[in-house]
Symmetry: C2
Subunit: 147 residues, 2 copies
């Protein structure tokens, strides 16, 4: 599964004329295998065994490159640091208010909202983002225990 996605992503890199360095490969691979929408620092820490000399700047540089060629999406929520997601299929996120967990969920794209926004505002719409917030199953249980 992820093997296939990794190869596709590497092919995209080649097409874009971007070098596939060991560090870049590792960042991409980690993102594809990760289900947790990690921060730059998460990635840095996760790879420091494999690349003890890797610089944080390298992580940021590679995330920028991957974002620019459309392999990775940058998610900015209220908290201090960005999160990165390389699942580029159309999907939305639901985020736990309590533990911060981010879960993917699918819903038909909100085309009507985009269309109406164009009409009302005169903007030429490119895309939209939506997140839902709530309490996840685990945190619901914890809360009910404490009452």
């Amino acid at each position: 599964m992820t093997e296939k996605r990794l190869n596709q992503a590497l092919a995209t890199l080649k097409e874009s004329g971007v070098r596939i360095t060991p560090q870049r490969h590792a960042v991409l691979e980690y993102l594809i295998n990760s289900m947790t929408h990690p921060t730059a620092d998460d990635i840095y820490k996760a790879l420091e065994n494999k690349f003890p000399n890797m610089s944080v700047a390298t992580v940021y540089n590679n995330l920028r490159v991957l974002r620019e060629i459309g392999l990775v999406r940058e998610l900015t929520y209220g908290d201090s640091s960005s999160r990165f997601d390389c699942n580029m299929t159309d999907h939305y996120h639901i985020i736990c208010n309590s533990c911060g967990k981010i879960v993917d969920f699918h819903y038909p794209t909100l085309d009507e909202v985009e269309a109406l926004a164009e009409q009302v505002t005169g903007f030429e719409v490119s895309h939209h983002r939506m997140e839902i917030y709530g309490t996840c199953n685990e945190c619901q249980k914890v809360e009910s225990k404490n009452h």
Copy 2:
């Protein structure tokens, strides 16, 4: 219009037992009169004539207080700093990719999405956020001129 909203907001502050200091009053008043979803620094700069000795920390403190009692919403987009919005009626935002302008627009709340997300993920949903991105009228004109 804004006069009325300001008085309502001040009443809410009193009910919550929060002191109405000159600085707090000024931050709130600026937010209510502002249509531009300013950053903390925008507010700080805008008020430095009136309060030459005001500290940035005061702006942040007051924004936090106003947020906690539900008078102000904090908006976090991709850029580095948060923006603050005291229009608490249900509305969404459309943001210009080019100049960063933020425009309000109204659309019926996406209740079905929330309901489906609850079913699929088991989360207990509290709220959601959605923004639309595109190019505003002015920036469209500029772009077409350059071609």
